[in-house]
Symmetry: C2
Subunit: 305 residues, 2 copies
Amino acid sequence: MATVVSLDQIRAASDRARPYVLRTPLIPIEGAQLKLECLQPTGSFKVRGFFAAALALPPDRLRRGLITVSAGNAAQACAYVAKRLGVSCRVFMYDTAPATKSEGVKRLGGKVIGMPRDELLEWMTTEKWRDEPETFIHGFADRELMAGHGGIGLELLEDVPDLERVVVPVGGGGLVSGVASALKGLRPGIEVIGVQSDGYPLWNRVFESGGPVSIKPQTIADGTTAPFDARMFDLIKECVDRWLTVPEPRLRAAIPELASAAKVVAEGAGALAYAGLDQLSPGPRTVAVVSGGNIDTALLADLLS
Amino acid sequence: MATVVSLDQIRAASDRARPYVLRTPLIPIEGAQLKLECLQPTGSFKVRGFFAAALALPPDRLRRGLITVSAGNAAQACAYVAKRLGVSCRVFMYDTAPATKSEGVKRLGGKVIGMPRDELLEWMTTEKWRDEPETFIHGFADRELMAGHGGIGLELLEDVPDLERVVVPVGGGGLVSGVASALKGLRPGIEVIGVQSDGYPLWNRVFESGGPVSIKPQTIADGTTAPFDARMFDLIKECVDRWLTVPEPRLRAAIPELASAAKVVAEGAGALAYAGLDQLSPGPRTVAVVSGGNIDTALLADLLS
């Protein structure tokens, strides 16, 4: 059974990533604070984990270059990390990924291989990446990567000593596992709340049914549309104390609200935790993680209109 | 003759404001870093100065409440500061101020008095605020307020030890005077570059002609459309080492660029320094100040489309 990532591993991973990532600010809004991971290089928290994982590789494996598979943000983070560390990068992406994400990979010198969703899931399930010359880093299930994301939890405890509640969007589960592992290791009383859209409530359904679930995504939170992965079941179950489901119309409204009230650009997944705040009783000291900001300009314009 | 604000005054002002304002992050972009003052409470740097100025008042003057006159951001900052300090607030604004700014004041419990631009300038010139019961804080020419803005300069020197160039939007001149005073006091070799739009190039014209100038604003940088103020002439002349004028179409393009590349919402004035970067030779370690993010949602949607 998977257990939470150890504090020692999180501290070491965060130390490796620290010179390359932003210590993101917290900004107050009505009733909560927002942790602005959308301000990270490449516009999402994923750089924390990819730096931590890449810098944990033996030098000869790092030199072979990096390869990953991604809904978009892991792809950009992997390309950025590879560029900063001077190695090559290829990423397999859904051919439906937003242009802002695939273009971002190419601008960073990464090579994009687009595939239909079903074909890509098959490629993953059969571990075809073993046939590739580069070193594969999994976009959410890699332990060193999750440890790197755990740096968010360490920063939260430094910045908000009386923290009581953390709200985190859940896709593959790498972010929530990293953050929750850090919090549960240091302050187990803090409630970790996982959020998904009702357009892709994968983990809610998984824990209701007790086993694998497959859903067709119908959400602007494309960053949370990873398929069920059995390796994450126990870990996510242990990490998430409570689940929220955000109706898709509420999520669409949350993006212009964040632009107006907080002056930040959030993508669908990035706005999920904020969008869920109105389902919580007021009172406890709460942080919502704004995980990313890679939204297509046309969609952002549409949501603002 | 006006001289730069002293370091002692800047340090004291920043200390007073610190518990209430954000230590804003720097984020890297191609060739420069952005200082994100748009993330401050009320969405602009102005809270730094208003807290510094209000907290410098004798208690009996503070208790009378605050009054200011503003193109918008100073109004919101004044209302926010008054609310946090438990006193009343009224603001005189152009009746053309963006709704996002006047609504912001009202949400904070401030009272808005809208006036046509000419009437409001007359009200200012004749110092009509002396007839009002509240204590007046000038939105850019107050020395304690400028000292508060100087906190940005102190933070820049802490965060970027090899800083060589700072690019700042210029409206009334309070921001650039505060920032430049801090830099010139500590590291006089750093170049301070002032930026205006070609839709309101007031200070360029002033220094070309050597005296007062009046221009009708035709810019989305509404935050920089303060009229000529003779008190600021010597100070701005001493503070700004070089001027840039940004063509209005370039400024309009800069706002979606900032949303896409940096995940931040900037208003016209807030995007000016970033928009001017392409006029500078690459090389020197450069910071551009993103001064504010209070842009009307409809305009933002239009610029993104």
